[in-house]
Amino acid sequence: MTTVDTAIGTAKTMVLNMGPQHPSTHGVLRILLELDGETVVKAIPDLGYLHTGIEKSCEDKTYSQAITLTDRMDYLNPLGNNLVYCLAVEKLLGLEIPKRAQYIRVMMVELQRISSHLVWLGTHAIDLGAMTVFLYCFREREEILNIFELFSGQRMMTSYIRIGGLALDPPTGWRQAIEKFLKMMPSRVDEYETLLTENRIWIGRTKGIGYISAEDAVALSMTGPTLRAAGIAYDNRKVFPYSSYEEFDFNVPTRTDSDCYARYLIRVAEMRESLKIIRQALDKISNEGPIRAEAPGVIPPQREKMKTEMEALIYHFKIFTEGFSPVPGEAYVSVESPRGELGCFIASDGSPKPLRAHFRSPSYINLQALPKLIEGQLIADVIACIGTIDIILGEVDR
């Protein structure tokens, strides 16, 4: 168990153990805090309570089986995890995905971004004492989860994005469901802003708290809203576009204050940008068209073909028993998850199972900067700083 050497070694400081069972650590994070009165002198995060060895398990699954494991890392962004994994495998295979599937992917991932930001906003607000926002946010998140259920039959661990495309064609009535959501959501975002943006208590708890300079943020490999709040417009959707993001028109909100309040404003602005992207995607998605790439032996054939063609049946059997074998090589893909740069590195040795699948999880790397944010601050601000990084412990520990 991690212990801490007190910096001063006299009775002047005390060590406080925060977590792992603490509601405002958003999971099971333990932090050792060395305090001088109410001021944090030193902070040491201790992780690993949720380590489940997902990367090791991936090595024992075929490429398509491993998709279900990716859902369970960042459980507020399962579709984003599916996406990055599938993009990496597709890069390894050199597959081209039909445009229709790419647009549906974009739409689903942006819905997921909104739902993730809603959980972040709700829990962050409840940590700082604003109960109502939590209830409002979960009301809208429910609507998004209903849309996911409509598309995939699952609310959270959807595994909807598959290698080569999507699991299922969009169901009947999907367009109306999205339209309804797009119509409702902007006014709901306004509601959260009414509750918080000019709220004196909220400003008092977040403004000027958890400052990190742009240089430090880059040096510590931070990405996502935390980096953009420091004034650096680094967003993978713009810088290294994937899944046709270059065809969408949206802004990357940035601010320069780099405190908890700036990060709040950025995430709210991102929700509005995501709504813009979903609207554009909705207009781009045609009613008819393929949702999977054509690649015999790699992508499962359509059901009708399986019933009529011998080869299709054989391929289906082979894909689901032994899997497919990409050529030896390595591929790295990064996408913009709600928390930052989510990367997936896959090394293949030519067998049907990955030699190595590594996930660059933004929560893990952003959490590294936590001591920098809280050292020298008051203990009450530690809660605000943990919330503002937006960590998901399932992804931190993998």
């Binding site: 168990m1 890069k91 490999s221 390595e330 590594h358 790397i365």
Partner: protein
């Protein structure tokens, strides 16, 4: 996109070669990704070059990981994903390390963000980083034996002992 990334590969590789002709062992192009293989002894100096040189400006160490190619030698491959935010470019550095002596220079002095990334590799692969300020296990308990992401570590079961309840019964009898 492939064209521009291979152009970028030439920029990085040539730059490193002009600094030290032995600093680039190999340049691998695969599916538009560029990997520059660097001999182990040049890793930190080459990384510093990548970060500080005005023409390269790789200011963000995006990810670092390891691949175990057991039973081949050199067994380990350390992978560093670099991003240049001002230049909007990516490159991957690779260092090959033998299984008998899995030690490399730490990159924490170059990118402070390498700290936890290297601790994770140490924890799961048992690679030691020379000059790391705080090399401890991070995800696993401190008393864990072995390095689980090595290919010779079993996926299921701890040290190849199937869990039949035998261990539990032994320890619970007085």
């Amino acid at each position: 996109m492939t064209e521009s990334s291979s152009q970028n590969a030439n920029v990085v590789a040539e730059h490193l070669r002009s600094w030290n002709s032995k600093a680039v062992a190999e340049v691998i192009e695969f599916r538009g990704d560029t990997t520059i293989v660097i001999p182990r002894e040049f890793l930190r100096a080459a990384a510093e070059r990548c970060r500080q040189d005005a023409k390269l400006q790789y200011d963000l160490l995006s990810a670092a990981t390891c691949v175990d190619r057991f039973p081949h030698e050199p067994r380990f491959e350390l992978i560093y994903q670099l991003v240049s935010i001002p230049r909007r470019e990516k490159v991957r550095l690779k260092v090959r390390v033998s299984g008998n002596d899995p030690v490399v220079d730490s990159l924490v002095p170059v990118w402070p963000g390498a700290n936890w990334l290297e601790r994770e590799i140490f924890d799961l692969f048992g690679i030691r980083f020379h000059g790391h300020p705080d090399l401890r296990r991070i995800l696993l308990p401190e008393d864990w034996e072995g390095y689980p992401l090595r290919r010779d570590y079993p996926v299921e079961g701890y040290r190849d002992v199937p869990n039949t309840g035998e261990l539990f019964r032994k320890s619970s009898t007085p």
